[in-house]
């Protein structure tokens, strides 16, 4: 039976808490959030195994720490967990923060703990699906990921910022800076989201994917946006973000070769982003608790046994899809 500490009870964090308490293997879940009102309203609804905590200290006797706090606050909490010798799962989707979390690799290896970077919808499930799809190739040349929709307010703010900020792609063996809001492309997501115009943005996915696919030529990430989103991207958000966005989707496309044949494979998923992120993080938590992750800092594209994790995820209600009939993409 495991003892888990969860930082952050926003749209994603509250879903992680609910998913974890529905799991038999969790003995105690301590939740911490800077907003006392959130703690007071949520904790009583989560059952007797959940208790409220405070502060930033990490008890070395814990089995796992999950960080689902707003972007920009996750590195210091993750470092505290690593220093205490406790495995940690993070949910950040901010480029600079993901880079700093990946830099915890040496520290994590020294303390022999895994640091899972970006265990959400995208990055997270997108990285896992990319790794899963790569098993069908002899050689992967290109990985292209895209997402539509946002989770809670923090996610919506990050989405807005990302569209107006320079992004990074991996192209021909080097990092390339790309203007946010450029590179319009119609991406076909699973129904009911369907076709959406997607653009480059400050997304961390290439940072997580490129190192895991040696020899890959191109890694790109895009996010869906409307024309109004693009025009208002350089400005502050004009309206307060909604408590939670609607249905969202991700699409992961790999291009490569199988023998002499060129092949394209596309996977996707459709779900409310915060729900999917909560399910993904809790599924990863269960796999971390059973010792499936090696020490070091990496994203979910580093997972070898993708099937086991996808099964755990499916049990938690998120079932990925794949596109069949890709001749028109070839």
């Amino acid at each position: 039976m495991a003892r888990i500490l969860l930082f952050g009870l926003g749209a994603t964090g509250s879903r992680i808490a609910r998913q974890l308490v529905s799991t038999g293997g969790v003995e105690q879940l301590e939740v911490r959030d800077t907003e006392t009102a959130v703690i007071e309203s949520l904790v009583p609804t989560l059952g007797p195994r959940v208790e409220a905590g405070s502060g930033r200290e990490v008890d070395p006797r814990l089995d796992l720490v999950i960080v689902a706090t707003p972007h920009g606050t996750q590195v210091s909490l993750a470092r505290r967990a690593v220093t205490a010798g406790v495995p940690v799962i993070t949910t950040s989707n901010q480029t600079a923060e993901v880079r700093r979390l990946l830099e915890l690799d040496r520290e994590a290896r020294t303390h022999r703990v895994p640091v899972i970077v970006g265990a959400g919808f995208m990055p997270g499930l997108s990285c896992l699906l990319a790794r899963h799809a790569s098993h069908e190739f002899d050689e992967v040349d290109e990985v292209h990921v895209a997402k539509a929709g946002t989770g809670g307010p923090a996610c919506a703010r990050q989405h807005h910022r990302a569209l107006g900020t320079t992004g990074i792609d991996w192209r021909d063996g080097e990092w390339t800076r790309r203007a946010g809001g450029s590179g319009r492309e119609l991406v076909w997501f699973p129904e009911p989201v369907g076709g959406r115009d997607c653009y480059r943005a400050a997304l961390p996915d290439a940072l997580l994917l490129a190192p895991e696919f040696p020899g890959v030529q191109r890694v790109t990430a895009r996010q869906a946006a409307t024309r109004r989103d693009r025009l208002s991207a350089p400005l502050p958000m004009l309206r307060r973000p909604h408590p939670e966005g609607g249905i969202g989707a991700i699409r992961v496309e790999l291009r490569g070769s199988v023998g002499a044949e060129r092949r394209v494979v596309a996977f996707g998923a459709v779900e409310r982003p915060a729900v999917a992120a909560g399910a993904m993080a809790s599924a990863v938590a269960l796999r971390v608790l059973d010792g499936s992750f090696a020490p070091g800092a990496a994203g979910l594209a580093a997972v070898n046994d993708t099937v086991a994790l996808l099964r755990t995820l499916a049990e938690r209600g998120v079932k990925p899809v794949r596109f069949e009939g890709l001749s028109t993409f070839g």
Binding site: L186, P190, L231, L310, E324, G325
Partner: protein, 58 residues
């Protein structure tokens, strides 16, 4: 006797400012047009999404 009309003091400067603003405005309008317009791709004509089945997860 010839009378030479001269522009009022600062007239040249105002013209310059007006023309600059016009040029900047036209540039912004063109940039906005390029940013919001454009053609998308082509939706897939065949195939479709299907949920991962048991044999996909073995």
């Amino acid at each position: 006797m010839r009378v030479v009309e001269e522009a009022p003091m600062g007239g040249g400067l105002l013209t310059l400012i007006r023309r600059t603003m016009l040029a900047v405005g036209a540039g912004l309008a063109a940039a906005a047009l390029i940013r919001v317009r454009g053609t998308g791709g082509v939706a897939p004509q065949t195939g479709g999404w299907r949920e991962l089945r048991g044999d996909d997860l073995t």
